[in-house]
């Protein structure tokens, strides 16, 4: 599904430069559920953003579904993001003046899907996250957990190959976190490949594999026995 080779990334800070990723090697197969862990500032988000084509690496190879991702034009990156990737963010990142269903339909709009069709599909995904009744509500009328569900429905709407989540439970309380994790696990059960950044051990243990970053390199990469979230719900 995804193969990364000797990936480097540094940020310029004033005159000096901050070397964040110092040669990452990582490959993820279809159907995996991987947690990326590490202390704050260790480069987890940076790695996820590069995988998500929101940012570009300085050097190294990145192949996504047999497609080399290198020197993409903005236009091409937009198409790839739209077709291959679904994003879930810590702060939900819903558009505040759009209703739940309009938010979910947005990636479909950028696919060029007809209005009626995309509304139906968006409603279907909202139903899957259990929010069909909240379709006409604005984000500010939803709880944190509900917002994240809308965001997940949006990430799923375009049926991406890879789901990228940056601390999806970071802004939620424990109970809601577990509900969200339960849903994400069910997506993985259906075969969706998932990459998730987290710094919480219990969340990471709900994945099937944990990759630990430190000082810009992968310090540990191990498979774990997945802890099911439903037992806490």
């Amino acid at each position: 599904m995804l193969k990364i080779n000797q990936l480097h990334k540094s940020y310029a800070i004033g005159d000096s430069s901050l070397h964040v990723l110092k040669g990452i090697d990582l490959s993820v197969d279809k159907g995996e559920m991987v947690a990326i862990m590490g202390s704050s500032g260790s480069g987890k988000s940076t790695l996820l953003n590069i995988i998500g084509m929101l940012d570009e690496a300085d050097s190294g190879d990145y192949i996504l579904d047999e497609l080399p991702i290198k020197d993409l034009t903005e236009k091409k990156a937009a198409v790839y993001r739209n077709r291959f990737l679904g994003f879930i963010f810590q702060s939900f990142n819903l558009i505040n003046y759009k209703t739940a269903v309009e938010n979910v339909a947005l990636p479909l709009y950028y696919q060029g899907m007809k209005r009626k069709e995309r509304h139906e599909l968006a409603m279907f995904h909202l139903g899957k996250v259990g929010l069909a009744d909240w379709a006409k509500h604005l984000p500010k009328e939803l709880s944190g957990g509900q917002k994240q569900r809308v965001a997940i429905a949006r990430a799923l709407a375009a049926n991406p190959k890879l789901l990228l989540a940056d601390e999806p439970t970071g802004a939620l309380d424990t109970k809601t976190s577990h509900e969200i994790m339960e849903f994400i696990q069910s997506l993985n059960d259906e075969g969706k490949t998932i990459l998730m950044v987290t710094h919480e051990e219990d969340i990471a243990n709900m994945c099937k594999r944990i990759v630990r970053l430190r000082d810009g390199v992968i310090m540990e990469d191990k498979r774990v026995e997945q802890i099911r979230a439903e037992q806490y719900v």
């Binding site: 953003n49 998500g52 929101l54 940012d55 903005e74 236009k75 937009a78 198409v79 993001r81 739209n82 077709r83 994003f87 963010f89 810590q90 702060s91 990142n93 819903l94 558009i95 505040n96 003046y97 759009k98 947005l106 990636p107 709009y109 950028y110 696919q111 209005r115 949006r154 375009a158």
Partner: protein
């Protein structure tokens, strides 16, 4: 090209962010309102100027005489110059086809009576060409003709208001009017665009007046129009030559400015057209100034809007929005706000003019208004202005990097 969904996106964004849309719209509406009113006022001023001259042909030359101020060729200063028929004939013969129309004028004031009505009017004794020089419009009957001149007929042509004053709703044509005790036949009634005073005048044949008032061949003034094919410089050199020849004829010193005075309307016309041109330039400068201020204003607000929407634009990009679609959203929003607000400003401006326009005539502003073509032009300008105003912000928006926009901190 027409993408209903794109428009829906834009309308939603305008509608959901009404305050900022209103705010940015207000700048443009105000600029256009100002522009419309200024433009109309300038237009009104121009109308006033050009109106002041519709009365006389633009290629008129007036020749008057006075007393000499300088001794010349043994003749003393203070000598009175009196034009006579032979001088009129001289000018007519000497300059041939350089002269289009020519007439003499004798001025008198007469006491006119018809039945029980009476009043005093200025009288002008003229040649037939006078009709064309003064742009006199015959309403009924005819103007003074050559036959009148040849036979010294006691015919007069009276102004519309003379008829109104003396004949009180009755037809004057064919009736006899009494001028200082002598009856004259009214052979024509005229009207004139030059205002009320121009319609309270009585015309009679120049020869008749000479016979009745002093039995001489004196004339007060010679009016002519030069050949309209002459350009400004030719017209000026024509009047210079005319002056020179007349001074020669009456043995007047070259530098005597009073004995013979030749006034060429071309100079006035030129001054007016230069003034109009200057006014147009001022309008354009003011107009473009306000327009640019409006563009800069909306551009600033749009940049602010883009900044405010950075996160949203980042989200859209993460979801697969192409740079082009981001540019479209911002650009069309800018155009839409500019066009709608500008149009509102225009309508208010026109409304204000309708309301206060008539009362401005006292301030030399006549019929202030904006033409249809200006409205259409302004609309096109607004759309272009909106595009210019939106360009920078749109470019800025399309360059937003999604990671920067989506950073949590």
């Amino acid at each position: 090209m027409f993408d209903l969904d794109l428009w829906r996106e834009i309308f939603q964004s305008i509608n959901m962010n009404r305050t900022r849309s209103l705010l940015s719209g207000f700048t443009v509406a105000f600029a256009i309102l100002l522009f419309t009113v200024l433009f109309a006022i300038a237009n009104g001023l121009q109308n006033t100027f050009s109106e002041a001259f519709v009365d006389e042909a633009a290629n008129s030359i007036f020749i008057k005489s006075g007393r000499t101020t300088k001794a010349h060729k043994g003749l003393q200063a203070g000598r009175r110059i009196q034009f006579k028929n032979e001088d009129f004939d001289y000018v007519k013969e000497e300059f041939g086809d350089k002269v289009e129309f020519i007439t003499a004028r004798i001025y008198k004031n007469v006491n006119a009576t018809y039945k029980n009505e009476q009043s005093t009017y200025p009288l002008r004794a003229v040649h037939p060409d006078h009709q064309f020089l003064e742009k006199t419009l015959i309403q009924s009957g005819r103007y003074i003709n050559q036959n009148d001149l040849d036979n010294n007929t006691k015919s007069v042509v009276i102004g519309r208001l003379v008829e109104e004053d003396l004949f009180i709703k009755k037809e004057a044509l064919g009736k006899y009017i009494n001028l200082n005790g002598i009856p004259y036949k009214v052979v024509g009634v005229f009207h004139d665009d030059g205002g009320d005073n121009e319609e309270r005048i009585i015309y009679m044949p120049v020869t008749t007046a000479q016979r009745i008032y002093g039995n001489n061949d004196y004339i007060n003034q010679i009016n002519l129009t030069y050949n309209p094919e002459m350009d400004y410089d030719q017209a000026l050199s024509f009047s210079t030559l005319l002056t020179k020849k007349l001074k020669n004829r009456f043995s007047i010193a070259k530098n005597d400015q009073r004995a013979v005075r030749v006034r060429n309307m071309a100079q006035g016309t030129k001054a007016i057209s230069q003034m109009s041109f200057g006014l147009t330039i001022i309008i354009l400068v003011i107009g473009f100034g306000t327009l640019i201020a409006g563009i800069v204003g909306i551009s600033n607000i749009m940049i602010f809007i883009v900044k405010e929407r950075t996160k949203e634009i980042g989200i859209r990009k993460a979801l697969g929005a192409s740079p082009k679609s981001i540019v479209s959203i911002i650009l069309i929003e800018s155009i839409l706000i500019t066009a709608i607000a500008g149009y509102i400003g225009l309508l208010i401006g026109v409304g204000v003019l309708e309301l206060v326009g008539p009362s401005l005539e006292d301030y030399f502003i006549k019929d202030p208004g904006v033409s249809n073509s200006l409205v259409i032009g302004a609309t096109a300008t607004l759309i272009i202005a909106g595009a210019i105003a939106g360009y920078l912000p749109a470019k800025k928006a399309s360059k937003i990097k999604p990671i920067i926009a989506l950073r949590n901190d």
